[in-house]
């Protein structure tokens, strides 16, 4: 039997487990996944909990199969989720392109590990480009949410399902190995607070009263395929109203840090350390990586001396930051790769070095 837990009752949970519990409470109908470190706890959690509660859980033979099971179940109108980590997410890209083209809502979670290749199982943000720029073939986007705490690992499941269903497109939670593995206090959302009705376009069997429903991404006539593309692009324009970000001490800042997810937690500490030394640093943390908070970054850029973008990769989001800033102020980059995490002191050192050298920025 399902145990109801009051929202005010905090639990200490791993990020991966909090995300899984939140998915059950969000009314997820089905989960299809394949084990890969550092996110296998999610499949394990579902295999333990779902038989006792409700829903479908299936360990697929591969990530390829899992994402195509998602396609089928989403096409049949179910609220569905899959999770994986970087190499597995690469395998899902073909399926994600089909899902985006067929305008099916679903939630995909990438608990990112260091790459490229088989890489490492340590945390990374190296999949930013893949998540934000489409990832698979063709012109499409995912809604991309970047949690920076165990609480947000849980909350963004609800947000992800809600946005995916509202805009009929796949949503991705771009997490990392540290957020998936670390334990924090989490207030879990109430079960049943996210109602779901089977949409009219779903393949549920054709009654005499309507034409058959077809889920497809194939339109051989170029005129028709362009029409489908225009529908997708129109949807992405509407999505801009869903931009979410968080600011920390930006009102009087001379220097702006931009960082997402785990890097933003590091940078929040840097802001404190810098201010103890009298350097006025502020932080903008994009929560939606797509749509990207370009407008706000440009506004803040006008008020600061320079921008320092901090990521756990070789410099990916920094390109979107530079596009937003559009040359009005220097944009610098500080990154670690291969599973390494920059320390707050590393970032402060970078700030001090930029101030000292009066350097012009990488963009």
């Amino acid at each position: 039997m399902e145990k109801k837990i009051n929202k005010t009752e905090a639990r200490l949970m791993k990020g991966n487990e909090a995300l899984a519990e939140a998915a059950i409470r969000a009314g997820m109908d089905a989960y299809f996944g394949y084990p890969i470190t550092p996110q296998s706890e999610i499949l394990e959690y579902f295999e333990t909990e779902i038989p006792k509660r409700k829903g479908v859980v299936l360990q697929a033979e591969s990530e390829l199969a899992a994402i195509n099971m998602i396609y089928g179940a989403a096409g049949a109108g179910a609220r569905v989720m899959t999770t994986s980590s970087s190499p597995g997410i690469s395998l899902m890209q073909e399926g994600l392109s089909y899902i985006a083209a067929a305008q099916l809502p679903c939630l995909v979670v990438n608990v990112v590990r260091g790459g490229p290749g088989l890489g490492t199982i340590q945390p990374s943000q190296g999949d930013y480009f893949q998540a934000v720029k489409g990832g698979g073939h063709g012109d499409y986007h995912l809604i991309v949410l970047a949690p920076s705490s165990v609480q947000e690992m849980a909350d963004f499941v609800f947000l992800g399902f809600r946005l995916a269903e509202k805009y009929r497109m796949p949503a991705m939670i771009l997490s990392d190995g540290a957020l998936g593995q670390m334990m924090e206090k989490v207030d879990l959302p109430e079960e049943g607070s996210l109602p779901h009705t089977i949409p009219g376009w779903a393949t549920m069997g054709k009654p005499a009263s309507r034409e058959r429903n077809i889920i497809t991404s194939l339109h051989l006539q170029s005129e028709k395929m362009e029409e489908i593309n225009l529908v997708l692009q129109e949807n992405y324009k509407k999505l801009k109203s869903e931009v979410r970000f968080e600011e920390f001490q930006t009102s009087d800042a001379d220097i702006l840090l931009v960082a997402f997810g785990l890097s933003a937690r590091v940078c929040q500490k840097t802001v404190e350390l810098a201010r103890e030394k009298g350097i006025k640093v502020g932080l903008l943390r994009p929560i939606t990586l797509y749509p990207f908070p370009s407008v706000r970054i440009k506004e803040l850029a006008a008020k600061v001396d320079f921008i320092l973008d901090v990521e756990m990769n070789a410099g990916q989001m920094v390109e979107d930051v530079a596009l937003a800033v559009n040359g009005i102020k220097p944009v610098h980059f500080k990154g670690r790769m291969g599973g390494m995490i920059p320390s707050p002191e590393d970032v402060l050192e970078e700030i001090e070095s930029i101030i000292e050298k009066q350097s012009v920025g990488v963009f």
Partner: protein, 254 residues
């Protein structure tokens, strides 16, 4: 001037099933796909399950199966039809679900999905059209291409030493405990067609039992890819395909 054709006092002995749409078929004249499409839809009509049936179309010549079959359908990526069908059936277990795939789709790029879907005993019907060639892309060698068979990518005949043997995937999956009903049928003559339709009916009926996967291989033809007339393809099936792919039930569970 209006004219009206009036036929009275004649018994209707044959008609197109209402579950097939009026869309003209894009298949080459004499292609087996249209025959199999018709039998599937006749069975859906006869069982009265149009409202509870969901089909999965493949990539290949039958990519547009959903244009002809008047049921809710999903178009799958190449090789993934049985995974898509699994996703549908798991969330809608009360529906009749079938997948429809060719040899390249089911037995090359989708081999893993095929084996694991059957191994899980997914309660679906899988229909496998084996014409020993990739038709849509222009007649390339398939996993089921016969030894010595000439195709555009085996222009000197399939060299089994170099590229391997015709894959008898139907016999392979029949070994799996999840397979409930496995049969190989054909469209080469009227008698075969009757048996094929009966097998399709069994495949749909089996879903009421929830005892495992039903799998029907259809030994079919490809007049364009084989560069033969439709009539010649029927003889070619009998003389060349049947020795490698003999017809009949391979597994019938109780």
């Amino acid at each position: 001037m209006e004219s009206e054709l009036v036929i009275e006092d004649l018994e209707c002995v044959y008609k197109k099933p209402s579950t097939l749409t009026d869309t003209p078929l894009h298949y080459c004249p004499g292609c087996g796909h249209s025959i199999v499409h018709k039998f599937i839809m006749e069975v859906v009509e006869e069982m009265g399950i149009q409202e509870t049936t969901i089909g999965v179309a493949p990539v290949g010549c039958s990519v547009f199966a959903y244009n002809y079959m008047n049921v809710d359908m999903q178009e799958a990526a190449h090789g993934r039809a049985s995974a898509v069908a699994t996703g549908i059936k798991r969330v809608r277990p009360d529906k009749f679900v079938y997948s429809y795939q060719g040899d390249g789709d089911l037995a090359a790029i989708g081999t893993a999905e095929t084996i694991h879907t059957v191994n899980r005993g997914e309660n679906i019907l899988m229909i496998f059209i084996n014409n020993a060639i990739y038709g849509m892309t222009g007649g390339q060698m398939a996993p089921t291409t016969l030894a010595g068979q000439v195709t555009s990518t085996s222009p000197y005949g399939r060299d089994v030493k170099q590229i391997g043997y015709p894959l008898k995937i139907t016999e392979m999956i029949a070994m799996l405990p999840g397979a409930y009903y496995v049969t190989r049928q054909s469209i080469n003559n009227v008698n075969s067609c009757r048996k094929l339709k009966k097998a399709i009916r069994i495949g749909f009926e089996n879903q009421k039992l929830d005892k495992g996967t039903s799998f029907i291989e259809v030994v079919s033809n490809c007049p364009s890819g084989w560069k033969q007339t439709p009539l010649e393809t029927m003889t070619w099936i009998e003389e060349n395909m049947f020795p490698t792919y003999p017809l009949g039930d391979i597994k019938v569970s109780k």
